[in-house]
């Protein structure tokens, strides 16, 4: 059953939103726009970047870095998962590497990437890659391990070739794990790449947020934070939810 957008909006959430807006306005009025710009100023700022087109240049700059860094992480994760499927030894190694990467702070990669790549786009790309790799890889390896051995045995009974078993059994069982891993990984990529953009690049949401702070345009910090949230929600709904629905149509 298809529901209209009006029904999908959660009434208590709307109520909470109203309360937040009221309290926000009051605090802004008490402490001044430098500490907390009013909702009205944020809206004005948002319209401004929409008009000037700035919203697209910085969002595109951030997204293109994410696409390279996160895309690279997905590709490498697929290779790692394949290795983990083929060899038990590789599985153990991948498992350990993922654990170590997972335990490493974002800041470590930011500092290292600046040392290695200097003040260029490669710094946020590398940071995004290193942070999202363990998330996507661990999901994929788990997916590969969860492939039902009894289905593979069925494949053996009917003499399916290695390639046939891979495409008919292994890939479809692993895809839901890949989508889940990519969904979490992409959210992380957006958050992390923006932090990395504070250093040394002259475009992207992270850069413009930090720049806005430096020129004391606090309302623009809020505007760009809003842009980030919108990008995140949009990809979640448009890309990942659609993808899961398409792939899970047989359920």
């Amino acid at each position: 059953m298809k529901r209209g957008w009006a029904e999908r909006v959660h009434a208590p959430t709307v109520a909470l939103g109203v309360v937040v807006l009221v309290v926000w306005s009051l605090v802004s009025w008490t402490y001044g726009a430098y500490v907390l710009p009013s909702p009205r100023h944020v809206v004005i700022g948002f319209v401004e970047i929409l008009r000037s087109g700035e919203i697209w240049t910085h969002t595109a700059a951030s997204l293109s870095r994410i696409l390279v860094g996160f895309g690279g992480a997905v590709v490498v994760s697929l290779l790692l998962a394949l290795a983990a499927f083929v060899s038990r030894t590789a599985r153990g190694v991948v498992h350990d590497v993922v654990a170590i990467l997972n335990a490493t702070s974002v800041f470590v990669w930011i500092v290292i990437s600046i040392i290695w790549f200097g003040l260029s786009s490669w710094a946020p790309i590398f940071t995004t890659f290193m942070i999202t790799l363990p998330v996507v890889a661990s999901n994929l390896v788990e997916g590969v391990q969860s492939v039902d051995r009894r289905l593979l045995e069925m494949g053996d009974v009917y003499r399916l070739s290695g390639r046939q078993k891979f495409t008919a059994i292994v890939v479809p069982s692993t895809v839901p794990y890949l989508v889940a891993g990519m969904k979490v990984g992409f959210g992380l990529a957006l958050k992390v790449s923006v932090v990395a953009e504070i250093f040394g690049v002259t475009s992207g949401i992270g850069y413009i947020m930090n720049y806005s702070r430096e020129i004391l345009a606090t309302q623009m910090v809020f505007v760009w934070a809003l842009v980030m949230v919108l990008v995140m929600l949009a990809t979640d709904k448009l890309v990942f939810d659609t993808l899961s629905r398409r792939l899970g149509a047989w359920r």
């Binding site: 045995e153 069925m154 053996d156 009974v157 009917y158 399916l160 008919a168 059994i169 047989w250 359920r251």
Partner: protein, 250 residues
């Protein structure tokens, strides 16, 4: 009639000796039911016959060709497992068509054959359903269609109706008997339900308690003696169950 399948002095050890020594032959077109107490190695024996598990001793030949686990052979073996083992992301039709992939068939022949066997097991009209959308009985029918579709030299079935409710079980027993008559396949069917075996099998092989040997090999060709046969086999299996429990005190 010609010997189709020969089980020759087959034995199997895991941590303990499960199958001592079992020999029997199956003629082409026979419907053999393997009976015995739980844990006596019925499933293991079936897996050895299917080449899914190596024997510790002895061997199996199908049309004179040895069946050894992990080694390729030219014979075709269809297996229906306790679970349906259908791919949930493929339709029933595609599940059947998948196993026809390795056979030298044109796409049109593949489609026609999948259709023919799905119809044979009573699934006409459900070809485009995914396994999750049909009942357990229908899933097991699809698994049978898949096994038959390769037109196997022998069809192995491992308690295929174990997960079904009583009514569906009875329906499937009648169905498998009909399918067997219609196709003339050679079937080896594992069950621990004696009534089921007497209802559908032409030859009954009763295994003893672990380590198992053949306790009785009975031709089930006199419908008048069925009630008596059920009684006899029930007595036998009770003895074997007691023996198995006595031999391995908890």
């Amino acid at each position: 009639m010609a010997v189709k399948l020969a089980v020759d002095e087959v034995g199997k050890d895991f941590l303990l000796r499960v199958i001592e020594r079992v020999s029997f032959t199956v003629d082409a077109g026979d419907f053999v039911c393997l009976l015995g107490p739980n844990g006596c190695g019925k499933t293991t024996l079936l897996r050895i016959i299917g080449g899914l598990e190596p024997a510790s001793r002895g061997g199996v030949t199908l049309d004179g060709e040895p069946i050894v686990a992990g080694r390729a052979h030219a014979r075709k073996v269809g297996v229906v497992f306790q679970e349906d083992r259908l791919l949930p992301w493929k339709t029933l039709r595609d599940n059947v068509a998948l196993v026809l992939g390795p056979l030298a068939l044109s796409p049109a022949e593949r489609a026609a054959r999948a259709q023919r066997y799905l119809t044979l097991v009573g699934l006409a009209g459900f070809e485009d359903y995914h396994p999750g959308r049909v009942s357990g009985g229908m899933r097991q029918r699809a698994a049978i269609a898949r096994a038959l579709a390769i037109e196997p030299d022998v069809l192995l079935m491992d308690e295929p109706f174990g997960a079904l409710d009583a009514q569906n079980r009875r329906i499937m027993q009648r169905e498998i008997r009909r399918i067997w008559r219609d196709t003339g396949r050679t079937i080896v069917f594992v069950t621990h339900a004696i009534e089921e075996a007497v209802e559908i099998g032409t030859t009954l092989v009763m295994l003893s308690a672990r380590p198992s040997t053949i306790r009785a090999l009975i031709r089930n060709d006199d419908p008048g003696r069925r009630a008596k046969l059920v009684d006899d086999l029930n007595t036998m299996i009770m003895e074997e169950v007691e023996r198995q429990q006595g031999a391995h005190p908890a």
